[in-house]
């Protein structure tokens, strides 16, 4: 009898707690696997939610100071923005993660999570999180924290994960267990030496599938300053982003050809070599986008915004680097060959000086000159000037047309000519 009452009270308390904690229900994760900041995949951060409006403002990244500021997309936006701006302000002035995140406590119902490879990570304001630390001897500690300020100290390997269910989520009520399980999984993966970006992908997969807080959002690689940008964010106000547990694209494992959903539904095999296509899920795409691998090259394209030029150039530079190393002459030759073949259209030939190679960071910048007025290939080098050709061409066309007219009226013309002579 007494026990029954206690259970009822417990249920009531849980319901109350859930109702109170409805603001800013989102998943925010910061993972630091290399606190020295040397590993290019040593720190990552990401946000997603069941709710709408998970724009890039929910996973802001500083490219120069290497920190991220995460928040929820919903809730009263003015105090949220004020908290974000205050946090960024503090971080730009060299504050530690905990000093910066404490900015959130001055705004009620707001949560801000922040972190960077060398400044540690922290979450402040209204939250339900686990702080995971992994010692060098492999001990994993996962501490539940809610509200106030929670810190992962600088120089410590570990992670912070915040997760709450949004109202209306069909998997409402799963946040508690998923938060704990994901925290433990992150801890184990950090111990086993996975890069932070891959852990972020795995954690997002688990959260998206099991707790339903699945719409992007996106993530950042804080050391190499890579971001998923608007890959998964909503395209309009008050809509949700891309579901992180769904198929994102299909890719050919042998030649690298790929196609994005929904068009990918029509493809089962690669149109070039017929191999079965591999399905890439959104969480894989996120990890792929953020992870820097030892053989990948960072390609930047300047001088043209034409569609497809960046992607083609990336492939060409990759190919050239694999074959000839970081040699600007070889890269220029490869690009010029592609222009000749018609694989790369709308740009003029490049010279080795138009290619900026930084071997230490595996970065290649290509400065193109776009062709005017929708031309697809560069102008021809002919010995005769183009105006002469133009005039001769027009005269020939005219003579040809006159000949046709003469032939059509041939008999009548000959007749009248003969008559006149008589």
């Amino acid at each position: 009898m007494n026990r029954n009452k206690l259970q009822k009270i417990l249920v009531l308390l849980v319901t109350l707690a859930l109702l109170i904690n409805t603001s800013a229900a989102t998943c925010n994760i910061v993972i630091i696997t290399d606190p020295t900041g040397k590993d290019p995949n040593g720190a990552a951060a990401g946000s997603m939610s069941f709710a709408t409006n998970m724009f890039q403002s929910t996973f802001i990244m500083s490219k120069e100071n290497h920190f991220a500021v995460l928040s929820g997309g919903e809730g009263n936006s003015t105090p949220r923005l004020a908290a974000i701006v205050e946090t960024i302000k503090r971080l730009n002035n060299g504050a530690t993660a905990s000093e910066a995140a404490s900015a959130a406590s001055s705004y009620s119902g707001i949560r801000v999570m922040t972190g960077g490879p060398t400044i540690g990570a922290a979450v402040g304001g209204s939250f339900d999180a686990y702080v995971v630390t992994v010692d060098n001897n492999g001990t994993i500690t996962a501490t539940p924290v809610s509200g106030g300020l929670a810190t992962l100290p600088a120089g410590q390997k570990g992670a912070i994960i915040h997760l709450r269910n949004t109202h209306g989520n069909p998997q409402y009520g799963t946040a508690e267990t998923v938060r704990q399980e994901t925290a433990v999984m992150i801890g184990k993966m950090i111990r086993d030496g996975y890069p932070s970006t891959e852990i972020l992908g795995a954690a997002m997969e688990k959260v998206a599938k099991e707790s339903g807080e699945k719409y992007g959002g996106g993530g950042d690689n804080l050391v190499s300053s890579l971001t998923t940008g608007d890959m998964f964010t909503p395209s309009k106000m008050n809509t949700t982003g891309y579901p992180m547990d769904e198929e994102y694209s299909k890719e050919c494992p042998t030649c690298g050809w790929s196609v994005a959903y929904p068009a990918a539904e029509n493809y089962q095999t690669c149109p070039y070599d017929g191999t079965a296509l591999k399905t890439i899920y959104a969480y894989d795409a996120l990890a792929d986008k953020l992870t820097v691998t030892s053989n990948s090259t960072l390609v930047s394209v300047y001088g043209t915004d034409a569609a497809g030029v960046y992607e083609t150039t990336e492939e060409l530079v990759d190919y050239s680097v694999k074959k000839n190393g970081y040699n600007s002459t070889a890269i220029a030759t490869t690009i010029n060959n592609a222009i000749n073949n018609g694989n790369l259209v709308g740009v003029n030939y490049v010279e080795p000086k138009d290619i900026n190679v930084v071997e230490s960071t595996r970065a290649v910048g290509v400065y193109y000159k776009a062709l005017p007025e929708g031309r697809t290939s560069p102008s021809w080098e002919l010995p005769i000037s183009s105006s002469v050709l133009d005039i001769v061409g027009s005269i020939q066309t005219a003579i040809g047309l006159i000949l046709i007219i003469l032939v059509l009226f041939r008999s009548s013309l000959i007749n009248s000519f003969l008559k006149r002579r008589r």
Binding site: F55, Q56, S57, T58, I60, M61, S62, K63, E64, N65, S77, T78, L81, A82, I84, V85, I88, K89, N92, N93, T227, G229, D230, T233, Y302, G303, T304, D305, A306, Y368, K369, A370, L371, P372, E373, R375, S377, S379, W380, E381, L382, S386, V388, L389, D390, V392, G393, S394, I395, Q396, T397, A398, I399, G400, L401, L403, I404, L406, V407, R410
Partner: protein, 144 residues
């Protein structure tokens, strides 16, 4: 044969055909070998420098909205877009203003405080240098 054509008629027609084809081909060659700058220099790209937190894409979109986008071109001191003609110095000032209005995506926070816009008239490349400053950002307290 249903239609009777005399052989010399056929030869003349053939000659006319060859003349017209080669004439058209030459016109195309003259088009292909000209460098196409007689109609102005096209805006070939926008390079954004100095932004830290505001994504490059946001700034590029704003710059494109004031006319510096693919399809626009410069003729003398005028920028000609698909919508209208603008004097170049006015267009550059517009671009400067537009870059200042770039926000964090999804918010009204505009942290860009100073912008320098340079246009290379020979290549059509626009370089935008921006300075971000979060210490002076005002968050509008009235808008929800």
């Amino acid at each position: 044969m249903f239609i009777k054509v005399r052989r010399d008629t056929l030869i003349i027609l053939m000659l006319a055909f060859i003349l017209i084809t080669s004439g058209r081909l030459m016109s195309y060659m003259s088009y292909a070998s000209s460098n196409g700058t007689e109609n102005g220099v096209a805006i070939s790209g926008v390079i954004v420098k100095g932004n830290d937190i505001v994504p490059t894409e946001s700034i590029k979109t704003n710059i494109a909205n004031v006319g510096f986008r693919s399809g626009s071109y410069i003729q003398g001191d005028t920028l000609i877009t698909s919508k209208r003609k603008v004097p170049l110095n006015e267009a550059l000032e517009n671009a400067r203003q537009a870059a200042m209005l770039s926000t964090l995506p999804g918010t009204t926070v505009a942290p860009i405080k100073a912008v320098d816009v340079k246009l290379d008239k020979n290549t059509g490349i626009l370089t935008v240098n921006v300075v971000e400053d979060f210490s002076t950002v005002q968050v509008n307290q009235t808008s929800g």
